[in-house]
């Protein structure tokens, strides 16, 4: 069975379609792997073995009957626990929604299922997607399959760990400030955040609505292209979703981009070991050399409003991170207001004398520290008298950041930089210092502010044998180029390593 786990989603889909592997066997192989190894990794919050096997059986029957089983027919996948599904719970890893069963399915999930995917279960995350290590989960922590003493990254840490740990063939996550790309880098998998609006947000429990985007976490670039292809496209249920037609990403994937121009933002290669660890820098530089060898032209570009500053005390700060934490907290303070215990979700068992006490006690009992911190920050930023100083100013910074990227893309096709300043850190290492935790996203956050697509792919191992991720950034709706550029690298230097926990 272990060879099933070795296959990419595309390979497995082909094998199932050809009748070489039964969907039921593929599903059972993954369910067995979860039973055997997820107790160490804890990637999943909930699995649906019976439903998954029943569905796989139907797919096998359809195939035998000659029906089209779809481009992902029989491929077992995992979903981040903030994607609503009518089967099972959608908890957002929050005690507030611990028993919430959605009466609707997210559009991206419906599209994945329509393509034949078999949903194995829901993966762990930072509560309501707020965090960079999955330690903020209200349910339990998830471990990095490369080193169970380390975090898988976050907030889509469960999905990244499940893909890296061979506990699913591919997974969906969501990315608000790096929540797909950063855990992908930490776990040594490919993670793609599409252009804002490329994938419908309907059914994704909102954190920062103007930043959130659903995307895939996969074994390789082709799978990322395949899953993005399936979930992308307009949706009448999401007004912010773009109706532009989705190109055939797979058709061009194997064709190298001739005269590829790669932009290196000078601000993203700071001379500071905290802001960019030397082994990470070395791995990225090696990747740049690989592109050069393939004939790519390297140009220097500048993203002044995304720069990373190092203070006299050594503390790292970033304009983009500051603007991001105002926009996302403001939006989350409003988005999470609905969790008031009146209509659904956790309600306090304590006696309450009035409605305000009911609200505050229920929320106090069921929301985690980081969630509360962000709700308070956002409430403050939107308060009268502070709106212009914070929220409005953040929106201005947001425009400046987007303009920087626009200017940079005048000189290059894709931008290349590290995904994270360091490889995966230890569990508990940054929980005491939220600001330090926020800086784990310094290279990923500005894309969300600008609405741009970004992709992280593994490019090597660190001094302590942890994966290092490289980020490729493209202009709006240029996912096709990102996949082609990433596939060029992957072909030249295929990743040949597996995490210790994946067998």
């Amino acid at each position: 069975m272990s060879e099933i786990l070795d296959l990419t989603a595309a390979e497995l889909a082909a094998a199932v379609a050809a009748g070489e592997i039964a969907a039921v066997d593929a599903t059972r192989a993954y369910l067995d792997a979860i039973s055997a190894r997820d107790r160490d990794i804890r990637a999943y919050n909930e699995t649906y073995p019976d439903e998954a096997l029943a569905r796989a059986k139907r797919i096998d029957a359809d195939r035998v009957a000659g029906k089209n089983i779809g481009p992902l027919g029989g491929v077992p996948v995992a979903l981040k626990d903030n994607l609503c599904t009518t089967h099972g719970r959608t908890t957002c890893a929050s005690k507030y929604l611990a028993d919430f069963r959605a009466p609707y399915t997210a559009t991206a999930v419906a599209k994945l299922e329509a393509a034949g995917a078999v949903v194995l279960g829901k993966t762990n995350m930072d509560e309501f997607a707020m965090g960079s290590s999955t330690e903020n989960s209200g349910l339990h922590a998830t471990k990095n399959p490369w080193d169970v003493g380390r975090v898988p990254g976050g907030s889509s840490g469960g999905s990244a760990a499940a893909v890296a740990g061979r506990l699913c063939a591919a997974a969906l996550g969501s990315d608000t400030g790096g929540s797909i790309r950063q855990p992908a880098a930490f776990c040594g998998v490919v993670g793609c955040k599409p252009t804002y609006g490329r994938v419908s947000r309907y059914g994704l429990v909102a954190f920062g609505s103007s930043l959130d985007q659903i995307g895939p976490l996969t074994r390789d670039v082709k799978d990322a292209a395949l899953l993005t292809q399936i979930i992308a496209g307009g949706d009448p249920a999401d007004s912010t979703c773009l109706g532009d037609s989705v190109p055939d990403y797979l058709a061009s994937l194997d064709q190298p981009i001739p005269n590829l121009r790669i932009g290196l933002p000078r601000e993203f290669f700071p001379n500071n070991n905290e802001a960019l660890r030397p082994d990470v820098r070395a791995a990225i530089e090696k990747a740049i050399e690989a592109y050069k060898a393939m004939g790519a032209e390297i140009v220097e570009v500048s993203l002044p409003h995304s720069r990373i500053d190092v203070g006299d005390d050594g503390a790292i700060s970033s304009f983009a991170v500051s603007a991001y934490y105002i926009v996302c907290t403001a939006e989350c303070s409003s988005n999470l207001a609905r969790f008031d215990s009146v209509h659904y979700g956790h309600r306090t068992k304590q006696p309450v004398e009035d409605i305000v006490t009911l609200y505050s006690r229920s929320r106090a009992e069921s929301l985690g520290q980081e969630v509360k911190r962000r709700i308070m920050l956002g409430t403050y930023a939107l308060s009268s008298g502070y709106y212009d100083a914070y929220y409005n100013k953040a929106l201005k910074v947001r425009r400046l950041i987007a303009n920087d990227f626009k200017a940079a893309f005048g000189k290059c096709d894709v931008i290349l930089c590290p995904t994270t300043p360091t490889p995966a850190f230890r569990l508990g290492e940054k929980t005491a210092n939220p600001i330090e935790m926020y800086m784990a996203d310094i290279y990923t956050i500005s894309l969300n502010l600008a609405g741009l697509p970004g992709l992280s792919l593994p490019v090597g191992l660190s001094d302590e044998n942890l994966p290092i991720g490289m980020q490729l950034i493209g202009p709006v709706l240029c996912e096709e180029n990102l996949f082609r550029a990433a596939a060029m690298y992957e072909r030249a230097r295929p990743a040949q390593w597996l995490p210790p926990c994946a067998n």
């Binding site: 309907y202 059914g203 007004s239 939107l382 709106y387």
Partner: protein, 493 residues
């Protein structure tokens, strides 16, 4: 208003916020039915229940309705407007924010012309009109707990805010009723008060001049008035109450010291009542709604909507007076709603004489409408029926009495006026030989009346009327009265 004892000059200053529920098929941001009176929580879905992960999708029809009102109020409808979230916690607001419009309303800076009893009109400026979603309703009919009915949650609501341009109860009522007539006229709201389709929030204070000094009393906002009667009572009560309070403390009971206050209204006593001030002023923490894209209104769209508005009540009333020679009262009665005037216009276009149609509509028509509690246009007469009947009158085929009977018959049973007239024998008899026979018979049967006419005394006129009546009776109303009188005069004169 002048107080003679003190020679104070008192000018009430009133601004009015009017909330109008729009009569779209579906809600503002989901496709649930927009319908009053259904069992609690039956017109709901994940979107209007505020479930996690769902998204609002704008109802374009509601935007058009709002644009229509804005344009009819002479407002600017900008090319770019957006949606904002107004954040506050309340059980009938499932998301704990209301999607509304904050700094870029759909319509701004217009006016509404209102009629005054003097016969003149006054322009009341409209500051803005914006679109938002209504909240649900807390209900208290379950003992021991509060129920929440979310059928109304998400229903499109237009909030129209006037400038403080009204200076009397009469002007406030003129404005409120004109607005009520306008939204119904435009077909954008049923504006049914019992169903809460229209709600008022007046802002009231007084500018009192005494001894050359002007004092402004604190502005009071009266919340949630659901009827014209409540609005009228609340404004009248506040004007008196504020003057009374000010007299007791002329230097202290002023806006500069007390600011703005909210008061409620008690339907039982018809008085406004003090409301406990909220612990702190509401901070709604508005932010642009990231789930919705801004609305761009193209010139073509604006023009198309403007083209659908047609003639407005005041313009139509003036035209009816000028073109049809109606007096103010009749013209006003015929412009309470659009369909009644349309009926008149279309009948005239079909060749009927306006005066005849108006007499039918405001005579028997108004009486029937009043009995049934409906608009005149809804009594069930078609343009064809009305025009035919009016033309029969003009042609002398039926007289006024017969026409009235025919009208009543066709309202009750339907049918064609001429067919009814024939069946009932109500057509005027044009056979003069027959009329002469009736006249001769009447003369022969009433020698006393004949004598009174011929003697020329003061009873002459009455007797002539009596004889005419006898002839009409004999003809069952079918004799042409003019011919009857002519023949009587010939034979007796």
């Amino acid at each position: 208003m002048t107080n003679t004892a003190q020679t104070d000059t008192i000018q009430p200053v009133v601004g009015l916020e009017i909330h109008v529920e729009l009569a779209t098929e579906t809600k503002m941001f989901c496709r649930c039915r927009n319908h009053f009176g259904d069992p609690p929580n039956t017109n709901v879905c994940p979107v209007c229940l505020g479930m996690p992960g769902v998204l609002p999708v704008m109802n374009g029809r509601a935007v058009e309705f709002a644009m229509k009102v804005g344009l009819a109020l002479n407002c600017t409808v900008p090319g770019y407007t957006k949606w904002d979230r107004k954040n506050y916690y309340y059980p009938d607001l499932p998301k704990n924010y209301q999607i509304s419009q904050y700094d870029l309303p759909l319509a701004q800076n217009g006016f509404l012309e209102i009629p005054l009893s003097s016969g003149e009109t006054k322009q009341i400026r409209v500051l803005r009109a914006h679109l938002e979603e209504d909240a649900g309703k807390n209900t208290h009919d379950i003992p021991g707990c509060t129920g929440v009915d979310l059928n109304r949650a998400g229903v499109p609501l237009l909030e129209i805010v006037s400038e403080p341009d009204m200076n009397s109860v009469e002007e406030v009522m003129g404005y409120a009723k004109s607005m009520h007539r306008l939204v119904r006229w435009l077909g954008v709201s049923e504006a049914n008060m019992q169903m809460g389709h229209m709600r008022f929030e007046p802002n009231i204070n007084l500018h009192i001049t005494r001894g050359g000094v002007t004092y402004k009393t604190p502005i009071v906002e009266v919340k949630n008035l659901n009827s014209f009667r409540a609005l009228e009572n609340a404004v009248a009560f506040e004007i008196q109450r504020q003057y009374d309070e000010w007299q007791g403390n002329p230097e202290g009971f002023v806006l500069a010291k007390l600011g703005k206050q909210n008061r409620g209204y008690d339907d039982g006593t018809c008085k406004t009542v003090f409301q406990r001030e909220k612990e702190e002023a509401h901070d709604y923490r508005y932010l642009p709604d990231p789930d919705l894209v801004p609305v761009t209104v193209s010139d073509e769209w604006r023009q198309r909507v403007a083209g659908e508005i047609g003639e407005l009540p005041l313009a139509r009333r003036a035209r009816f007076m000028a073109d049809y020679g109606l007096n103010f009262k009749d013209a006003d009665a015929l412009t309470q709603d659009a369909p009644t005037g349309d009926l008149l216009d279309q009948s005239v276009a079909a060749g009927a004489e306006a005066k005849r149609c108006v007499n039918l509509l405001l005579g028997r028509g108004a009486a029937v409408a009043n009995e049934r509690g409906c608009a005149i246009a809804d009594i069930g007469v078609t343009v064809e029926q009305l025009a035919e009947l009016a033309k029969m009158m003009s042609a002398g085929d039926v007289n006024a009495t017969a026409a009235d009977k025919i009208f009543e018959k066709l309202l009750a049973e339907g049918g064609q006026p001429r067919a009814i007239a024939e069946k009932q024998g109500l057509l005027t008899v044009k056979d003069l030989g027959q009329v002469e026979q009736w006249v001769d018979a009447a003369i022969a049967a009433n020698p006393q009346a004949v004598e009174e006419i011929q003697s020329g005394g003061k009873k002459q006129k009455k007797a002539f009327g009596f004889l005419t009546g006898q002839v009409m009776q004999a003809s069952k109303g079918a004799a042409p009265p003019a011919e009857v009188q002519k023949l009587l005069q010939q034979k007796l004169g």
